[in-house]
């Protein structure tokens, strides 16, 4: 560590842990308790879960709409550009002409955007893009949530800075609850990524007189394209 005061924080740590132990009536660090804790966290025990219907896709769509996302089902990834173009057309009267330009994640770079009359570039957003197109790692049926995991190919701000966020959700990636999402991350990514952003609908605030307003800081609207 460099020579600022942060370097001598060790003593504060030791004193705090000593106070915790004395409050708990312990004298020394408890090696057995530590071993138990380490074993305990590998079990991933679930708490009580609400019952989920067999059709997770339907449940996801219903809950996503409850959270003010709009949802559209499409057959294949190649339908994405046309679906987005159509979505922007329907928005136009509401927001006075949405530019048909935006940014997307690299996995969608090769879609035929220009055929749909869109100008979409594959790069992370820098803050002034009005449309952000992302995928998602998986989606959660229980709450209508999409799960974004950070990574080189998944720049997270693309989901939260633009006015409009369109997320592509592959139907087979819809899982029951948060527990399944965490298990999938462990299975497929190993280490926890820097950020898991669990997003359920557009940004909202109720801070003035508890009146709900969408688009507090992040997207005003979230449109989900469920594929397959």
């Amino acid at each position: 560590m460099s020579a600022d005061g942060l370097a001598d924080n060790r003593a504060a740590r030791d004193r705090t842990l000593a106070r915790v132990r004395s409050a708990l009536g312990k004298k020394l660090p408890d090696a057995q308790a530590k071993a138990n804790a380490e074993a305990n966290v590998t079990i991933h025990r679930h708490g009580p879960r609400p019952r989920m219907p067999a059709n997770l896709r339907e449940r996801f769509i219903e809950r996503a709409r409850d959270m003010s996302s709009t949802v559209e089902s499409i057959a294949a990834i190649s339908d994405v550009p046309r679906a987005i173009a159509h979505y922007l057309d329907t928005l136009a009267p509401e927001i006075g002409g949405q530019p048909r330009a935006g940014v997307c994640w690299p996995e969608f770079a090769t879609l035929d955007w220009s055929a749909a009359g869109l100008s979409i570039v594959s790069r992370p957003t820098l803050g002034n893009d009005r449309l952000g197109i992302t995928g998602c790692f998986c989606a959660i049926a229980e709450t209508g949530t999409i799960v974004i995991t950070s990574g080189a190919a998944t720049p997270t701000a693309t989901a939260i800075l633009p006015d409009t966020h369109v997320a592509i959700v592959r139907a087979e990636r819809i899982v029951s609850g948060m527990e399944e999402a965490f298990a999938l991350i462990r299975a497929e990514q190993g280490a926890t990524p820097r950020a898991l952003n669990l997003i359920s609908g557009p940004s909202r605030t109720g801070d003035i007189e508890q009146t709900i307003v969408l688009g507090a800081h992040g997207p005003f609207r979230v449109h989900l394209l469920v594929v397959g």
């Binding site: 990574g151 669990l198 801070d207 800081h217």
Partner: protein, 472 residues
């Protein structure tokens, strides 16, 4: 934050007579309670979920040192730096040292109640740096000369839209508008510039996850998501008690937190943040710090009110509290209002500095019934009342009155006679509507409330009658 909890009575009195505040308080009362009820029924077994939540939080506290060590190991392994603040002053010092290390000039903050304990914003400004609160409610309070928050999840709910409108037009030099949507839009555009230009983001932490060394931050506005995505440094500040063992525990607690708070099935943004950004990642902080705060927590852990540390700050106890609903959050005079505040404030700032708070309860137990982690709030308030009595912190007339009562209570015959007589006397004081609006020697009590005159006979009379009916 300045401690004004000694003046609970005076502030409550003033707030009860503040017409504007009373109108504003009335507006939000009706909403939280039914919203919570409707959201909870979605869980198939609410009580089992509450019990699981209680156990998760209690398990974390019972082995707090172990979980903290595990958290520290995992957070460090992910590349984050874990720092410890023993006092509120330490929080501010550490933040400023981190800022100096990374040559930070502008800091954006998403809501952190712990940083209110240390008045962090003032310390940052005193050091010549800029700090901007991004939670809309906190932002409103910041530009109103750091008005204290009145609620833990809706810090500015005591303000009307007209009050916000005036504040905005004065601060932003924009035309006055009182349409809520337009006000939010104005704040959005002001704050957007700050997000894009800040070098450090500070968040609180709803949970620290021992398993992964992560912090979980929950918002509806998405301000914490932006705060942890755009600036190059992220500092997460929260109390040491906020540890939970696993991500699955977070899943269970998240079934209750938003439902208990605002009646939502889920908050719009739940962010799990672990370490600095990885290779090739474009967005995200390059440096991540945790500040784990004691500032009185270990003292609570060793006390009779340790269960208060299970709190997940949902606000349900205050939303359901008849005292809070009437006097408003500012009366409590420090960071945490309502039933949980009436326990934490005396513990963190000293019982002698918050004498009235454990008394600010009717013991109706609405709070205990709604608390998602089953904190027996009235029991804990009673324990603090006992301590006040034992430490001779109650006024002499109250102690004397209790002595007199105890003397009678130990003499059942005399007690029966005395209560019979007082019941009859009380009835004489009643107005025609059956209410007593003034009591000799108890003006402090009847000033703000009417008391129904006792009807019928005393409990002892009725009980005796019941017993004789049984025997016959």
């Amino acid at each position: 934050m300045q401690i004004a909890s000694m003046h609970f009575k005076a502030r409550a009195h003033a707030n009860l007579n503040d017409e504007q505040l009373q109108t504003n308080l009335k507006k939000f009362q009706g909403k939280f309670v039914p919203a919570r009820r409707n959201a909870l029924v979605e869980l198939d077994d609410v009580e089992a979920t509450r019990e699981a939540a209680r156990q998760i939080r209690q398990r974390a506290l019972d082995e707090l040192d172990t979980w903290l060590e595990l958290f520290e190991e995992n957070a460090t392994a992910s590349g984050a730096t874990v720092l410890w603040a023993e006092t509120p002053g330490d929080i501010n010092r550490l933040v400023l040292e981190i800022a100096a290390r990374h040559r930070v000039k502008k800091i954006i903050k998403s809501k952190s109640m712990v940083s209110e304990e240390s008045a962090l914003d003032h310390a940052i400004e005193a050091a010549g740096l800029t700090v901007v609160e991004t939670d809309l409610g906190e932002y409103i309070l910041q530009i109103n000369n750091y008005e204290p928050p009145s609620h833990i999840i809706g810090p500015a709910l005591h303000k009307s839209k007209e009050e916000v409108a005036t504040l905005f037009s004065n601060t932003h030099k924009t035309p006055w508008k009182d349409e809520i949507q337009a006000l939010c839009l104005e704040a959005r555009s002001v704050l957007r510039q700050h997000y894009l230009s800040a070098d450090m983001g500070i968040t609180g932490g709803n949970f620290f996850v021992a398993e992964t060394g992560s912090v979980v931050v929950v918002t509806n506005e998405g301000n914490a998501t932006l705060t942890t995505t755009l600036p190059k440094v992220h500092v997460a500040i929260s109390g040491i008690e906020k540890i939970v063992p696993t991500l699955e525990d977070v899943a269970t607690l998240m079934r209750l937190l938003p439902r208990s708070a605002t009646g939502q099935s889920i908050s719009n943004y739940v962010d799990v943040l672990t370490g600095p950004k990885g290779a090739g990642e474009f967005h995200g902080a390059e440096h991540m710090y945790f500040i784990l705060v004691d500032a009185g927590r270990t003292a609570v852990l060793g006390s009779e009110v340790r269960e208060a540390l299970r709190c997940i700050r949902c606000g349900a106890c205050m939303n359901h509290c008849p005292v809070y609903q009437n006097v408003g959050g500012h009366s409590y005079g420090w960071v945490y209002p309502g039933p949980i505040g009436s326990i934490l404030t005396p513990m963190y700032v000293g019982l002698e500095n918050a004498l009235d708070l454990p008394q600010a309860s009717t013991f109706c137990n609405q709070c205990g019934v709604v608390c998602p982690v089953k904190i027996p709030l009235p029991d804990l308030q009673r324990k603090l009342r006992e301590e006040e009595f034992a430490r001779h912190l109650r006024p002499w007339h109250e102690r004397a009155a209790l002595r007199v009562w105890a003397w009678f209570a130990l003499r059942p015959r005399l007690y029966g006679l005395a209560s019979k007589i007082s019941v009859r006397l009380l009835r004489l004081l009643a107005r025609p509507n059956g209410m007593i609006s003034r009591l000799p020697f108890a003006a402090g009590w009847t000033d703000e409330r009417d008391m129904p005159a006792p009807a019928g006979r005393t409990f002892r009379e009725l009980y005796r009658e019941r017993a004789s009916v049984r025997q016959s």
